[in-house]
């Protein structure tokens, strides 16, 4: 299928999407999918979590009600900071993981009740599909390329061309 995608791109045909039962490594640059920025989001959420926890413990233990526990006073944040590290860490992980997961689900619009996004139900089982949006002239050319690279089915639906193999 990678071969088919490459040939289509060489002919200047834009590939709308590819539906596969599992991730195909190396397909992203061929069909022009940019690298996702979700990891950067996770990092920012993690920073938020760190800041939130630091502020919370500073407010509760240092400002609002400073306590002297076991002869270890927390009159300044730095005096008790070793004891605050575990919760700061947990909070960073909590915010990063949940923020990342939510962003991912919303960005892909994976929500309960969303309509299935694959045009053919067989693509979650064992079929691989290249999904194109073309005019009539391109459609004929694309069909030829796809048949030549071993497509098992080429379906034309109005202006839509599908290929599976």
């Amino acid at each position: 299928m990678l071969e088919g995608c490459k040939k289509l791109r060489a002919q200047g045909i834009r590939i709308k999407d590819v539906f596969t039962p599992f991730p195909i490594h190396g397909i992203d640059p061929i069909i022009g999918v940019p690298r996702t920025r979700l990891a950067i989001c996770a990092f920012l959420y993690g920073l938020t979590g760190t800041a939130l926890a630091t502020w919370m413990m500073w407010y509760m233990m240092v400002t609002d009600w400073p306590t002297d526990i076991g002869g270890k006073p927390s009159f300044e944040y730095f005096m008790a900071v070793p004891a605050f590290i575990p919760i700061t860490f947990e909070s960073a992980v909590f915010c990063a993981a949940h923020g990342l997961a939510l962003t991912y689900l919303l960005r892909c619009w994976l929500v309960p009740g969303a309509k299935a996004k694959n045009p053919d139900p067989r693509t979650t089982d064992d079929k691989f599909m290249i999904y194109l949006e073309l005019n009539d002239e391109q459609s004929v050319k694309a069909g030829e390329i796809l048949t030549a690279t071993g497509a098992s089915e080429v379906n034309h639906k109005g202006t839509i061309t599908e290929k599976e193999h």
């Binding site: 039962p21 992980v93 909590f94 994976l110």
Partner: protein, 466 residues
């Protein structure tokens, strides 16, 4: 496609196609349960109900119905909590740490191991929530504004760190598990014929389609979540060990506790994964996916972590002697020869000696031996937590508080009840969820399938000949 050495043993046995993988994994969901499933389920639900009864009795009458007393104020509650949470650790280790190390054998077992994590943490949570004595006030563990003045929880206390660590661990594990499940629910939805199951799996799959962008993001999310879960899983059991290590009780006040607890957790968790997977692969005929090689890999992890635990036990004894602190020395003498000597030696036998049998290839590739030893390890790890808590607390600094601990029927009932709950949830999961991450498994079929590897070998041979 990723190439793999031909001498590496295949991870998928036989000549499987993508379609066959789908069929094999969906069979328990589409088919009917057999009588063994119903028998196991009935027993599990009944024990679960018994546990709920004992739990209600504890809440109604008070924590005095437990065997815990003034001297031994932590007993089965914390023993069971640490045991369950430790079991949970293997799930995250398999799905997160092995993902980062690109170990492909994890793909056949990660789904069930993560399910086990989630159910085990639920069981653990019951004990910590109950041991506070007044569980209806447990919300006070969280830093909520309240009417008692500016009263905040004590952030210096490892017990509070535990609250944050365990809640983060539980929720992040659930999210990690579910994100991985979405594509597989999509597959079940697309296969479903009955309108109701199509509807339910449609809702669960969140409209998954498997487009290239979604897969690309999916892989990034899995990798980042694995990167976050890896330090998280180590932090959770380290913090559990701080509950003991930051106290001044001899036998608990030890710097080796965090690594010792973490490896103990992985040790017991892998044993539980083996117990469950050996049953699942047999009942669902998944021998082609959970192969003897997978079981051998898990047994190797058991030897490694079991040996770390063994070294930790011996280190404790050595340090007690070498430190010259008589309280420390007495604590360990008391563990080995005191009133609970039998628990100590049960722990030593089950955790230090029995896993060493896995050095023999015959034993670590034998299903029967692995199954029996996995249960032995879990018994041993339960005794480890018991030995750390009860014999220590029954002989503390003031001899006036020296006391024996006897579990009551309520202690036993709640513990057995959590085992019932664990298996009830696991059995329900195994009937309704794809028990193997089939999408991931399909991605390694070309590189790690037995028939595919043989084909690649013949082709390579032919090209040499000509």
């Amino acid at each position: 496609m990723h190439a793999e050495s031909r001498i590496r043993e295949p991870l998928i046995i036989g000549d499987k196609s993508y379609r066959q993988i789908t069929d094999d994994i969906i069979r328990p969901i589409e088919g009917k349960a057999n009588k063994y499933w119903y028998m196991l389920f009935t027993v599990s639900v009944l024990t679960f109900m018994w546990g709920i009864g004992c739990l209600a009795y504890t809440i109604g009458v008070g924590i005095g119905v437990w065997g815990s007393n003034n001297g031994v104020d932590w007993a089965w509650d914390i023993t069971n909590f640490v045991w369950w949470i430790g079991i949970g650790h293997a799930g995250t280790l398999i799905s997160a740490v092995l993902l980062l190390f690109r170990q492909k054998w994890r793909m056949a077992i990660n789904r069930s191991a993560e399910a086990m994590t989630i159910f085990a943490v639920m069981c653990a949570a019951i004990f910590v929530l109950l041991h506070t004595g007044r569980p209806w006030l447990d919300y006070m563990l969280f830093p909520l504004p309240n009417q008692f003045g500016s009263l905040w929880p004590n952030f210096n206390s490892p017990l509070l760190w535990d609250v944050f660590a365990v809640s983060t661990y539980f929720t992040v594990s659930c999210v990690f598990w579910y994100i991985g499940l979405i594509p597989d629910f999509g597959m079940v939805r697309d296969r479903a014929i009955k309108p109701l199951s199509k509807k339910i799996y449609g809702l669960l799959s969140f409209g998954w389609g498997g487009g290239a962008r979604h897969w690309s993001r999916f892989e990034e999310v899995s990798l980042v979540l694995a990167g976050l879960s890896t330090p998280l899983v180590f932090s959770v059991h380290s913090i559990v060990s701080f509950d003991f290590a930051t106290s001044v009780v001899p036998g608990w006040h030890t710097t080796i506790f965090p690594p010792y607890f973490v490896s103990g957790a992985v040790f017991s968790g892998f044993a539980m994964v083996l117990t469950l997977m050996l049953i699942v692969r047999k009942v669902y005929s998944l021998e082609a996916y959970v192969t003897i090689k997978h079981i051998e890999y898990m047994n190797i992890v058991i030897i490694v972590t079991g040996s770390i635990v063994g070294v930790a036990y011996l280190t404790e004894l050595f340090v007690a002697w070498y430190s010259g602190v008589e309280f420390e020395q007495y604590a360990f003498l008391n563990r080995a020869t005191g009133p609970y000597w039998w628990a100590y030696w049960a722990m030593m036998t089950c955790n230090v000696i029995s896993p060493q049998l896995f050095w023999f290839k015959k034993i670590r590739t034998s299903l029967v031996a692995t199954f029996m030893l996995s249960i032995v390890v879990n018994i041993g790890m339960w005794f480890e937590r018991f030995v750390i808590i009860v014999p220590t607390l029954c002989r503390t600094f003031v001899p006036g508080t020296w006391n024996m601990y006897h579990p009551t029927f309520v202690d036993i009932g709640i513990f057995v009840g959590t085992i019932g709950m664990f298996f009830t949830f696991f059995l329900l999961y195994a009937r309704t969820f794809p028990v193997i991450a089939q999408a991931e498994l399909k991605s390694i079929l070309k590189a790690s399938g037995e028939a595919q590897k043989k084909l690649a070998a013949t082709q390579a041979h032919d090209s040499h000949a000509h």
